[in-house]
């Protein structure tokens, strides 16, 4: 844990572009973080020198290349609205990289490793970075990405995923793109074809309802999954105990022990948000 280092630093906004709907993509020049970031980690961004909004906002690292990291975000409130109004050349204060990323070592697998990435809406953000990482590892021979959204507009990053060489399947609630229905149905179909659970890992990020659905499906097939959770954060660095999620070992901090958790340890109990 202590080997990991986080930085409290300034980032220069290289670009900040509207993609679709309320979705945006930002490129930040922040060499220290870019050098250390691993898929699943996040940064805490401060949008104002003043007090509105007061707290930093957490965003998954969507990619890291050279001195830059990219972020994908949806405008949902004050902070993200201010983010979308920032222009290239402006600076932002960022803290990161934070949290534990995805664990991509399948130690018990002797054969071909199958990675199944399940993304809902903005949940694509960290999974593109993960897909890129997986594509560089020779033993990860097969990666399947399942992307879901309410409508066509919410299905994001298909090209980014395809560029990494993985198979991509899409579902939308209204059928406007891909299969009509839930992304968890796609997952169920994919898992039916798996013959070696020890060589399979599901990675998921998206709304809580989707993650709960993923959890139900993987348990049915006895396949492990790593889920990236969200929580309301104040500090983002493990100090305030504000972001906890209920696990089989009691409350854990999403910002520190997470945001990626093994599905088996989550209780989804009534003590959870």
């Amino acid at each position: 844990m202590s080997a990991k280092k986080a930085f409290n630093t300034k980032a220069k906004l290289i670009s900040n572009q509207h993609i679709s709907g309320n979705n945006w993509h930002a490129l930040l020049r922040v060499p220290a973080i870019a050098a250390k970031a691993v898929p699943g980690q996040f940064i805490q961004v401060r949008f104002s020198e003043g007090i509105e909004p007061l707290l930093r906002r957490p965003f998954s690292i969507h990619g890291a290349r050279g001195a830059d990291i990219s972020i994908m975000y949806e405008v949902v409130g004050t902070g993200t609205r201010i983010f979308s109004e920032k222009k290239a050349g402006e600076t932002l204060e960022v803290v990161g990289p934070l949290g534990n990323g995805f664990d991509i070592s399948l130690s018990r697998c002797k054969g071909v490793e199958v990675s199944i990435l399940v993304a809902g809406g903005m949940g694509v953000a960290p999974l593109v970075f993960l897909a890129q990482k997986l594509s560089t590892i020779s033993s990860k021979l097969e990666t399947v990405v399942l992307v879901g959204g309410r409508t066509r507009e919410q299905v994001l990053c298909l090209n980014e995923f395809r560029k990494t060489g993985c198979a991509v399947k899409v579902s939308t609630d209204d059928g406007s793109s891909g299969t009509r229905g839930r992304v968890t149905n796609l997952l169920e179909n994919a898992l039916r074809k798996i013959d070696d659970p020890e060589c399979t890992m599901v990675y998921a990020c998206g709304p809580k309802s989707m993650l709960k659905g993923v959890d139900t499906v993987v348990k049915k097939f006895g396949i492990p999954a790593q889920l990236s959770l969200e929580s309301h954060m104040a500090c983002g660095i493990g100090a305030c105990l504000g972001c906890v999620v209920d696990t089989t070992e009691g409350y854990k901090r999403v910002c520190k022990e997470g945001p990626v958790f093994n599905a088996q340890e989550l209780t989804w109990g009534e003590r959870t948000e």
């Binding site: 493990g238 100090a239 305030c240 105990l241 504000g242 409350y251 959870t272 948000e273």
Partner: protein, 305 residues
């Protein structure tokens, strides 16, 4: 010109007056990447109770105008695990360690906790959290009643010679009366202020924004309340005041000194700028030298009225 940032709180000598608010700095290790921890004036721990507490359900925090609500519920490992796992690491850092303690049921738990800590020589001071609003077992806080405040400080005083700090709640009719009760009970200092009771509702879903419905308000929103309470108390008690509430920069910290604080604690500000404590130490230094003041002591209560 060399300036002197050193201050005394009871028997405690601090090399500078910048400390951290209980519950806002974890067990310090969380800030190791952002702060030169050895330069802090003192480190106050998260409040410790006798038994471990898992704390309240999520969501535990939400943002409010210029502030935030929290209802953590004193999540802590309990005194045994604190001593065996956290304290040793804390003591290695260097600055005085002030252990914050609280009772959950019986106020006599303060005696048990203080007696345990009294035996550990390296513990610099004990802060009595008489003011945590986030425990469902409490309908009223000890520091909402001058008699209880007096009694708890007095009985704790009997079991320890260490510097005792009483941390008080702003949710009272007359803060001066409570601070005096703490002073009379034998407190060496008071910490002002803990969070103000607060509530925020998501009108779309008609639900409270935090699971415990109400919580404690902190951050810049409460600063004028805190400065006011420091000022009112300063004129009526002799023991030093540790001021806190919404300090976000050096200017804010200066307000507290001018109102009567001997030292300050940084709380919510650590979340927004994890390096804030160091910036404020440097800021105070340069303020003193610019204004040709030799010591921070000269600022305490120096507001011109």
């Amino acid at each position: 010109m060399t300036v002197n940032l050193a201050v005394s709180i009871g028997k405690l000598k601090l090399k500078n007056p910048v400390m951290v608010g209980s519950g806002t700095f974890g067990y310090a290790e969380e800030f190791g990447d952002f702060v030169d921890l050895k330069n802090l004036g003192a480190i106050v721990t998260k409040t410790i109770t006798i038994k471990p507490r898992s704390g309240n359900p999520s969501p535990r925090t939400c943002e409010t105008p210029a502030g935030m609500l929290n209802s953590i519920g004193l999540e802590n490992p309990g005194i045994d695990k604190f001593i065996s796992e956290k304290l040793t690491e804390l003591l290695k850092i260097g600055p005085p360690i002030i252990v914050s303690i609280s009772s959950i049921g019986d106020p006599k738990e303060f005696i048990t906790l203080a007696a345990r800590l009294d035996k550990i020589k390296a513990v610099a001071a004990i802060e009595l959290n008489l003011s945590c609003p986030n425990i469902k077992e409490h309908s009223r806080l000890i520091s909402q009643n001058p008699k209880f405040t007096h009694a708890v400080v007095k009985m704790t005083r009997k079991v320890t010679k260490k510097t005792l700090i009483a941390k008080l709640s702003p949710n009272v009719t007359d803060i001066v009366e409570i601070a005096k009760a703490a002073e009379d009970g034998g407190a060496d200092a008071v910490s002002l202020i803990n969070t103000l009771g607060g509530m925020s509702i998501d009108v779309k879903s008609r639900t409270p924004k935090i699971a415990m419905i109400t919580g404690g308000l902190s951050g810049p929103a409460i600063r004028p309340v805190a400065v006011c309470m420091v000022w009112e108390t300063y004129r009526k008690i002799k023991i030093p005041i540790i001021g806190m509430g919404g300090i976000m920069d050096t200017q804010n910290a200066l307000e507290f000194f001018m109102a009567g604080a001997t030292a300050v604690s940084i709380g919510t500000g650590n979340f927004i700028n994890p390096g804030l404590t160091m910036e404020i130490i440097r800021g105070l230094e340069s303020y003193l030298s610019k204004n040709k003041l030799s010591g921070i002591n000269q600022l305490t209560g120096s507001v011109k009225t």
